[in-house]
């Protein structure tokens, strides 16, 4: 190997020191150059390579500085696409003497091009003439790739972020993300508006402690019982995708509350590790509309009931009044009779004959019609009491029927609820049908009793209406059974049945086959909504000409928790 160490160029060759001069020690410059993990080269201004260090020779696999190497020249290993730029730059700096710097791909011994950052400094001789260039070539392939990737990913993530934040911020739903500890990592503008909190106020704070710490009834909701947190943690552990919609109550910054429907989904990656994203919707208006619809339906059935109830109450009042008038006049008759007896007993009558006294008494008895009074008064009294009891039980049933549900469910005897409903609605069906109750053993069911009363009433009235045009008296059969953890209640009529093409629509709101004024078509839609709310179901089985059966299924223990 014949290499000319740069040190051998000697001090006389220029004003500026050679590498050897610069170091100016006894250190072997060639060794030093070889120890540098970059390519080091020396070239004449016209481009002829005069020296290459070990690294350079090892990389290219040839010593281009050697006059023995065929096809020499500094550009022979530069990627053809980069050659022009490198040559232009070389020509330029040879005119000005400015530092040379160019990025280009250089072919290695394996035939593959790798990016190199090539830099060189001019060495001037007498009169400032450039006599040679000392340069380096640093392999930047790995760095470039890294930067590329970083740049690309930076751009991409910026784009994603922009895109995502536009979507997230223009959503009508509120959205926030939390880290694994439930601390807020982001809150969109809809969510901020609904909650009254700015994102920056809550960042890094526990969302639960800020917006979810109380139950609707005002009692504290500990984090350990929070379904959103619970499902999030569960989600991360089990890899579940997202929770179904659950109804929650959130608290605004000012302390007021509002109902939300929300779902949580685990977030496996994020700036701060795994967490969850929670999307929620303000249900205030929806709940109000639901309430109004239910109120409308209640008013509708009440309007219909009130006419019947008036009849059911007016009838006993009529005969109780008549009987009481009779009892008053009967008392008068009896009193007059008594006075006659008293007269007969009076001493002042003196020696009046027994016959005479008996005659007087008998006359009075005939006038008073004692036999009739004796037989009628007890009956009149008992019928009056019966009438009073009828009104009283009806009023009790009305009170029980119009039971106002609180937001919470409670245990109720559904058989009793069915009897109550039948009492208040008897007048609606008694002219068209006989109602048979086949009520089995039922445990008390966790439910909204007032809502279920309404459902029973709607089904009973529907059954009565189905029998209206029948021509003969129909039958309505109400049964209840417990099937394991489920209460099963059915309302069956032997009326006209529901044609197949209508059956599909009967649960839709405002669908009705009744004439105007008889129904607004909310009854069955409401029934389905109520059953859904209870985690139950309502099904219909109907055969045209034979009758219809509605079957309700209710979980005895109430609606199962949404996380189950």
């Amino acid at each position: 190997m014949s290499r000319r160490p740069a040190a051998q160029t000697g001090p006389g060759q220029g004003d500026r020191p050679t590498p050897g001069d610069i170091v100016n020690t006894d250190i072997d410059v060639e060794l030093l150059a070889d120890a540098i993990p970059h390519a080091v080269w020396v070239a004449a201004p016209q481009g002829t390579l005069e020296y290459l260090n070990r690294r350079a020779i090892d990389y290219t696999g040839q010593d281009l500085a050697s006059p023995d190497t065929p096809g020499g020249g500094c550009y022979s290993l530069v990627h053809p696409d980069d050659r022009d730029a490198a040559a232009r730059q070389w020509a330029k700096v040879n005119g000005t003497g400015a530092p040379y710097a160019v990025d280009c791909r250089i072919r290695g011994a394996d035939g593959l091009f790798r990016w190199h950052s090539v830099k060189a400094t001019a060495v001037r001789g007498d009169a400032g003439r450039i006599v040679r260039w000392i340069g380096t070539a640093t392999d930047v392939e790995d760095r470039n790739a890294l930067e590329d990737r970083e740049r690309r990913s930076r751009l991409e993530s910026q784009g994603d972020r922009t895109f995502q934040s536009v979507i997230v911020d223009s959503m009508a739903e509120g959205l926030y993300t939390v880290d694994g500890d439930g601390m807020l990592t982001a809150l969109n503008s809809a969510g901020a508006r609904m909650l009254g909190w700015e994102e920056k106020d809550l960042l890094g704070r526990s969302v639960h402690a800020a917006v979810h710490f109380r139950r609707p009834d005002g009692t504290p909701l500990p984090e350990s019982e929070c379904s959103l947190l619970g499902t999030r943690l569960l989600g991360v552990r089990t890899g579940a995708r997202s929770t179904p919609l659950t109804d929650e109550t959130f608290i605004r910054k000012d302390g007021s509350t509002f109902p939300v429907s929300c779902s949580a989904a685990p977030l496996k990656m994020g700036a701060t590790g795994p967490g969850a994203v929670i999307v929620f919707r303000d249900m205030t208006e929806v709940r109000r509309a639901e309430l109004e619809a239910r109120h409308d339906q209640k008013l509708e059935s009440l309007g219909r009931l009130s006419a019947g109830l008036a009849h059911e109450i007016n009838t006993p009042i009529q005969f109780v009044g008549d009987n009481t008038r009779f009892l008053a006049s009967a008392y008068q008759d009896m009193l007059e009779l008594l006075l006659v007896y008293r007269t007969c007993m009076a001493k002042t009558l003196g020696e009046m004959a027994w016959d005479e006294r008996t005659r007087l008494a008998q006359e009075a008895e005939t006038k008073a019609d004692v036999e009739y009074l004796a037989s009628e008064i007890p009956v009149a009294a008992s019928q009056s009491l019966e009438g009073v009891e009828r009104v009283a039980s009806l009023v009790r049933a009305m009170k029980s029927f119009s039971y106002k549900d609180s937001a919470e469910q409670s245990y109720a005897d559904l058989n009793e609820a069915i009897r109550t409903t039948l009492t208040v609605a008897r007048n609606e069906v008694k002219y068209v049908a006989d109602v048979t109750l086949d009520l089995g053993e039922l445990p008390e069911v966790m439910c909204h009793r007032g809502d279920l009363n309404q459902v029973f009433l709607n089904l009973l009235i529907n059954a009565g209406d189905a029998l209206e045009g029948k021509g003969e008296r129909g039958e309505i059969r109400i049964t209840s059974r417990a099937e394991g953890p489920t209460a099963v209640i059915s309302f069956a009529d032997n009326g006209s049945g529901i044609p197949e093409h209508i059956k599909r629509s009967i649960f839709e709101p405002f669908f009705t086959t009744k004439e105007v004024g008889r129904g607004t078509g909310q009854g069955l839609a409401l029934a389905r909504a109520v059953l859904d709310k209870h985690g139950g179901s309502i099904e219909v089985r109907s055969v045209v000409g034979e009758g219809t059966t509605f079957t309700l299924r209710l979980p005895v223990a109430g609606k199962p928790a949404s996380s189950a």
Binding site: A307, A310, I317, F319, D322, N323, R325
Partner: protein, 397 residues
């Protein structure tokens, strides 16, 4: 003399027991029978004579409306009373054309006795049962041909309250029916002065339409016999013109009753012609104003009595053809109607056989109440006649 007989029908036995006991005080005056359903009631009616039937409305099988309709056809001489605890308007309207009087449950026994005793009275002196039979069968009074368009316009959805008042004020049947209904507690509280206008205002357009429609539905659209139709046109025009004029003649307090009486003055003629129209060989004598020998007026008065119209109206109709000599303190409804009737009669081509009442009219017009107003009464009558024609034009749209 046989005792009057009353029949009570209710599906609730306790109601019948209560009535039986509380009406026991009447056992010396009436014979009473009780039935728990419509079929039994019809059977009892078929077996013996009854004067009054008191029925519940809602009953299984044959309901009250159906029962009373059957009775109106089979036994028109039986007065029909509804005693019901039902308050639905639709059901109420169904019996509005079937019953004569309406009572609500709970009603005290005095009200029940009062209504029955009124209905036991026959107004006709010489033709008690015949007048009762003809008037009793009437469930609604047909609209006169002259006013059919007015009723059709009233039944249109766009009819407003002002129009409903005018239509009712010009329709004999509707006026009579509204007064009948408003005079019972059945349709809510009674309007204070029983004027047709206040009744319509209190009921509202939909109810008035329903009442008019229920009455209208009973009549076929079959044309009248041409001679009868011409006659009825004259009757209607005379009634409407008298009603217009009496508005000026009567004192303000008497106006509502006077107007109604003027409009209803020939209701007997109308229902007799209707009844005769349904017979193969009508026995109507237009000249003598008799149907089957019964004076039209007796039938009309019996109808108004059965329907429970206010007594001043019934009296004014009864005495329309009776010369009046009101004392100077007040003209009264009857004299006001008679005065307006005679004035309108003068504007029409009279049948000379009716005789003239110039002397009586002069006397009536010299009554202080009328003299005080500087009105040319004959001119006012001409104007009222013209008005009657104008309403007709408006009714036709």
């Amino acid at each position: 003399m046989t005792m009057p007989r009353a029949l009570f029908v209710d599906d609730e036995p306790h109601i019948l027991d209560g009535l039986r006991r509380s009406l026991r005080g009447k056992r010396e005056e009436w014979e009473m029978a009780f039935a728990t359903d419509g079929a039994e009631a019809l059977e009892l009616l078929g077996r013996s004579r009854y004067d009054v039937v008191v029925s519940d409305m809602r009953m299984p099988g044959m309901d009250g409306a159906e029962l009373l309709t059957n009775i109106s056809k089979l036994h028109p001489e039986v007065a029909r009373v509804v005693l019901s605890g039902h308050i639905e308007p639709e059901a109420a309207l169904r019996v509005a054309v079937a019953g004569h009087r309406f009572l609500t449950k709970p009603s005290d026994v005095e009200s029940v006795i009062g209504v029955i005793e009124q209905l036991l009275v026959r107004t006709s002196v010489s033709h008690q049962s015949e007048a009762r039979r003809i008037a009793g069968g009437v469930r609604s009074i047909p609209t006169l041909p002259e006013h059919t368009d007015g009723i059709v316009a009233l039944l249109a959805p766009e009819a407003n309250l002002a129009y409903a008042v005018q239509a009712a004020l010009h329709d004999i049947g509707l006026t009579a029916k509204l007064l009948q209904l408003s005079n019972s507690t059945f349709f809510g509280s009674r309007p204070r002065n029983s004027s047709v206008e206040s009744i319509v205002n209190a009921m509202g357009v939909p109810t008035v339409q329903a009442v008019a429609g229920a009455g209208h539905a009973l009549w076929s659209s079959e044309p009248w016999n041409p001679a009868t139709e011409l006659h009825l046109r004259t009757v209607w025009r005379h009634a409407v013109a008298t009603a217009c004029l009496v508005d000026v003649v009567a004192s303000p307090a008497n106006r509502p009753h006077s107007q109604a009486a003027a409009l209803l003055q020939d209701v007997g003629r109308l229902i007799c012609l209707v009844a005769a129209g349904e017979e193969p060989e009508p026995t109507v004598d237009l000249a003598a104003a008799r149907y089957g020998g019964v004076p039209f007026r007796d039938v009309g008065v019996e109808l108004l009595h059965l329907w429970g119209l206010p007594p001043p109206i019934v009296t004014a109709v009864a005495q329309r053809d009776t010369p009046q000599r009101p004392d100077s303190s007040g003209l009264g409804v009857t004299a006001a109607v008679r005065t307006a009737h005679l004035l309108i009669q003068q504007t029409e081509s009279q049948d000379p056989s009716d005789g003239t009442y110039d002397d009586e009219l002069a006397l009536l017009l010299s009554h202080p109440q009328l003299k005080a107003q500087s009105i040319d009464w004959h001119q006012a009558a001409e104007k009222a006649s013209a008005q009657a024609g104008q309403w007709n034009g408006r009714g036709r749209h």
